[in-house]
Point group: C2
């Protein structure tokens, strides 16, 4: 599945359920005045705040089918930025785009037993067209391993057909019933899924990490969200695969880890089931080694959860479809036309320099309303131009992330805007990383673990790496908030002291592993 | 629906049915030698030829669910070229991308009666997830008018919310049972669908034509396929819309017109059903004017049908993912390494100059096999480099479209390759246009019409523009090959002589209209 969604997760209470945001009564005076603002606070009522911010920020519209959401242009443009980056990178790796059908026949879907067990409960089935029942029911792809691999078997004959490296950008459907949340957990989502086949395990292993590094860059360089790279446990790995690597993000407000994207080595298991063989240089039959990997629109939700604040969305400049919003601030007796012209000129200069800039000339809203509006939408930089600015041949720039104001001479506009946007991008990452790091706790005993869990930490603990112990941790931590599970064993392993034991079983520890509740 | 597929078309015999291509016995000696080549000829057995060429050209793989096809990278890259062009153009028009759900609830789907009548028989229904029956069955979008417009109603309040201009790139499903054909008629296909709302009819009218011009450019400038721009008859217009414009292509081999893409003015009909109103400048409630428009992966099939030949695909340079294939032609005693180096250098030079060029260095195929292989795949220009070329510091360029050979001094490589590719692009269009034009017949009487129809012509006839007469034409031409219908009334109308009568009814003619069988 190359999945970006947590599988096998426990049912649990989740405050960010599929409720439409309420327009509750906590609005402040200033918000009433502008008609904008959020009625929920991020630190007080995170779930409601999230639902409200994605709607008021015009990213999402709730849809009349539960668990399905409308991605409005404000969200879609972020997806397009990530798409453009990732698509160009994988093309450099000679991975080619294709498109396989949305539908899978039942018999093919069920070919890999572990795999289908992971997906069966949430497969949507088409059983009729018009008024006519179909002879055989047909599944909508929850992922495309079983859709694609019968054809890999057909296309791969000899060693010269390898590697076969395909990717597709598409929608997939997983009819989950628990806790639908915009972007994070939806019944239909958009993703890319890469499916590659190699002659050797070494090539497959290398690609797994190369792709994982692209996922890290999407999170850290584009979305300014710090992640941890690591390997999933046997219990949490992709159903039917050999091993799963992932980038793991963390949401401090809920104390939940969130699987950001996954890059799986499938080993030879699917190759065996689908008979994907090739003749090697010596004329001997061999099985291929396969990978699959994916990231989804979930990325956008993680970004919103990490950076958003009580004024609304906060978008990192690299993915914001509007990086700079220019707002005229005319006064009664001022040179209004001069101000408007200066705004237009500013937008032109910035756009020509490659920035994404717009002016808001609407005459039915006050500057103050516009400030709130564009803060809600998370535009990284606001430029105000008033009479004084006009006289001084300057503009006033205001950062969305920290509210800092700077008067910029128009002569230095391009350089200073570039500097400020770069600084915002970096500051967002630094602030998120600092906050995330304060949420990491080391626990060497069960008691320490339980204390940290109650404090909503992401917990780094020495572990014996036994599946039974992980199941036991889940069982022992079950509760209203949901059970804890392993998130990943980080590639960047701290030293494991001599004789250190597993926090849960007391057996000799084999590695450090992150644990916590998760989405 | 903004549909690129012919609706309401009669059931008919169609030789290009969903049969996998046979590997029939007509192979010539040379083809046996190379193991390549087509066993069907375009002029002898068009349907079989088409099925074979899309598979052997590695565009399509047949899928185990009838009417669904795998788009391989060789086809997908063409879609991406069109996507990139069109997406950039509509962004200039301030149209924004979004993504609405795949699923529609039954009640919403049925809101516009004429509309649903057009689609109901081919809607695929999801009725269960896992083993659990859904409370209410859910449709898969055949098009997104009814998915989107309830939200247009919500988002549009005042005149400042207009125009609202959205587009999405997605898959849609129409579970047709007749004549599945790769690209041309499939149960799932890819498209873009634009949905816009305006305050005035004038703005909507203007956009309809602006989009139609982009569709013309896709066909004529990218795919080198000549089209006719025009208006559909009342009988053939989009179900629920006000009027439909289209670009109409023609397939000489089958004598069938093919609706290339459509740009609909929906008028205010959907606005009425979905209550999409706004308050105008005077505070009065008004209904919006709407358009929808789409082009689909059908475009690729039209291109294949028009340009392909008995050697395989013929790709126009503007959409070919490989424009130039460089093939080393070493001889026993020749400087093989020198030849290989020259090939690599040639590819580098061309790629740096912005061409899409590759070399085929495979050591297990002969140059002759490679020629056939890349001819099958339709690469516009082949460059051969042998010992003589090396000595003379030249390359030999061979055109796919007409086989013309030219020795090019390496000093002039970039200029001459550019010239040849431009020439191929233009020649393909000219040849296709010339062929198409010879298929156009003017018929002023029923007898002339029937003769022309039997000759597989696209027939330009004076028409009274009455729906009953069109139905009558359909009824009277029903037969094994399918009935004739109106294709479009061209915008470019020849003069209508005084007193001329309708070819079918004898009533006074109101306009010239194209008629014929169609896909």
């Amino acid at each position: 599945m190359a999945v970006g969604e947590g599988k096998k997760s426990d049912a649990r209470a989740n405050s960010s359920g599929d409720k439409k945001p309420s327009s509750g009564g906590k609005k402040k005076e200033v918000k009433k005045e502008t008609g904008l603002g959020l009625s929920n606070k991020k630190d007080e009522n995170f779930g409601e705040w999230y639902s409200e911010v994605v709607v008021n920020g015009e990213m999402i519209e709730y849809y009349d089918i539960s668990g399905c959401y409308i991605l409005r242009p404000w969200a879609m443009s972020i997806w397009e930025e990530m798409h453009n980056f990732f698509d160009a990178e994988i093309k450099k790796m000679k991975i080619k785009n294709c498109y396989f059908p949305l539908f899978v026949s039942e018999s093919v879907l069920q070919k890999e037993k572990n795999h289908i067990e992971g997906f069966a409960p949430e497969v949507a089935w088409v059983t009729k067209s018009g008024e006519t029942p179909l002879e055989k029911q047909i599944a909508i792809r929850p992922t495309s391993e079983t859709v694609m691999y019968p054809y890999y078997s057909k296309w791969i004959r000899g060693h010269r057909d390898l590697p076969l490296k395909l990717n597709q950008w598409c929608n997939v459907v997983r009819w989950e019933f628990s806790n639908p949340t915009p972007f994070i957990r939806s019944r239909e989502f958009l993703w890319q899924e890469g499916h590659t086949a190699f002659a050797t395990k070494a090539e497959a292993d290398a690609e797994v990490l190369e792709i994982l590094e692209l996922y890290r860059r999407i999170y850290e360089e584009f979305l300014a969200v710090p992640i941890i790279k690591g390997k999933k446990s046997e219990h949490e790995k992709f159903a039917g695969g050999l091993y799963t690597t992932s980038v793991e993000a963390f949401i401090p407000n809920t104390g939940r880890g969130v699987q950001g994207a996954t890059s799986h080595c499938l080993g030879q298991n699917f190759a065996k089931m689908f008979e994907i063989n090739y003749e090697d240089e010596r004329g001997e039959k061999q099985m291929v080694w396969q990978n699959s990997w994916a990231f989804t629109t979930r990325t956008i939700g993680v970004m919103v959860m990490v950076h958003g604040d009580d004024k609304g969305l906060v978008l990192p400049p690299k993915v914001a479809s509007v990086q700079v919003i220019v707002i005229p601030v005319p006064y009664k007796d001022a040179n209004t036309q001069g101000i408007f012209d200066a705004c237009t000129a500013t937008v032109d200069i910035l756009c020509k320099a490659g920035f994404r800039a717009e002016a808001d000339f609407r005459d039915n809203y006050s500057p103050g309303w516009k400030y709130s509006h564009w803060e809600m939408k998370g535009v990284p930089l606001r430029i105000e131009i008033g009479p004084k600015d006009l006289v001084n041949d300057q503009v006033r720039a205001v950062r969305r992330d920290n509210g800092a104001k700077l008067d910029i001479s128009r002569a230095n506009l391009i350089e200073q805007v570039k500097e400020m946007l770069d600084s915002i991008q970096q500051s967002l990452f630094n602030a998120a990383k600092q906050k995330r790091d304060t949420c990491i706790a080391v626990a060497k005993t069960w008691d320490e673990f339980m204390v940290a869990l109650s404090q909503k930490k992401m917990i780094l603990a020495p572990w014996c790496d036994e599946e039974e112990v992980e199941k036991d941790v889940k069982a022992r931590t079950k509760g209203e908030m949901g059970a804890a599970k392993s998130l990943c064993s980080p590639f960047d392993q701290p030293e494991l002291p001599e004789g250190i034991v597993c926090f849960a079983s007391g057996k000799p520890a084999k590695k450090w592993t992150y644990w916590g509740r998760s989405y």
